[in-house]
Symmetry: C2
Subunit: 215 residues, 2 copies
């Protein structure tokens, strides 16, 4: 693997494990066994690494959120959307963890995040519209904008909720089951909106994502 790519991967790992603020370019270089000068040959500063990692996160999520053309949306699509977004949030979790700081330190990144977040809400709106058109959600009661915004809020706050409110002090790790419970919370928003024909399949899907929170 090229040095540039190794720097990005190591940075992502260290940022996720320790928080972006606690990790300096010197830590990254030491972790890779390269000199700080070699790191600076590839990246001007830590902010440039953060920006490049955000670009990867953004591209990954944008890629997932396409509405298929020429066919109706299916339940499998919905599960795929949700799992992919949660995976992206998890893979780049340092970003949400310290979002306020990262965005306030960099107006260009703040503007990019604003556009990205709005795109995600717009894609979500198209997806919920598609689910109503496909007869999965009751079109009369479905408000695609409300569902899209609420889904985005639920997804982007889930990991932090698990860390601050679900895990006990002696349990430091988020498990795959707890990440899947986030998918459940987003799907469960539609319990009152499902059409009779879609209800059994969605309830079976919900059961697969359920995990107790143990409060």
């Amino acid at each position: 693997m090229k040095t540039r790519e190794r720097i990005l991967q190591a940075s992502l790992q260290l940022f996720n494990e320790q928080g972006e603020r606690a990790v300096t370019t010197n830590h990254i270089a030491a972790h890779l066994g390269i000199s700080p000068g070699n790191l600076y040959y590839h990246f001007r500063n830590k902010q440039q690494i953060v920006t490049e990692l955000f670009g990867r996160y953004e591209a990954q999520v944008d890629d997932y959120l396409r509405v298929p053309e020429g066919r109706a949306l299916s339940l499998e699509d919905k599960a795929h959307y949700l799992e992919s977004i949660f995976r992206g949030l998890w893979d780049y979790r340092f970003f949400l963890r310290d979002q306020e700081h990262l965005l306030s330190a960099d107006p260009d990144l703040a503007e990019r995040y604003r556009q990205f977040s709005r795109r995600c809400v717009n894609s979500g709106r198209a997806i919920y519209q598609g689910l109503a058109e496909a007869g999965i959600l009751d079109a009369e009661r479905t408000d695609p904008e409300v569902l899209a915004i609420n889904s985005w809020l639920l997804m982007t706050s889930w990991i932090s909720f698990v860390y601050t409110s679900v895990l006990d002090a002696d349990q430091s790790e988020l498990t795959p089951a707890l990440l899947r419970r986030g998918v459940y919370q987003v799907l469960a928003q539609e319990l009152g909106l499902l059409t009779e024909q879609a209800r059994p399949a969605v309830q079976a899907m919900l059961a697969e994502y359920y995990a107790p929170l143990g409060h």
Copy 2:
């Protein structure tokens, strides 16, 4: 007003305006025109001020979230709960803005927050249960746990969403209308769960809280 109280109020204002990390005890003392020694006479360090402010936030929210005894829940109760919680989140917004940092720096505060957040979710569950028993929500389709967790996630992430995703770069302030839109998002979760008898009144209430996000 006593000096101790003036220190707490000034700290809250400065933390909310500038973020807790950017404000030192020297800034707080200078803002009040008192000596750092006078501040230290009342508070050992900044963490003690943060802890005391958190205690006030906690007491305020706990106080709001009581389910009335001996009578059924009404729609007015629901509006009151939501407005009160959003007001608390706004009054102590520094806390959510830098939660990760504040909690990781102080295990006692992290444990207190965990218990507080769990209490809020439990109170929310009792409130949704009460709304189903009062015939406002369809008891068959209502899952009080899902609604309680999702409401808590929506409320605690709303202010940050407005700042990072709704406001444009040249609009720096959250307006009361945008804060009320957060109440709308929480209420709108129930669109598919309302009983026929409650629907007209809830829809009128929703219209009052609606505000366009302007994307």
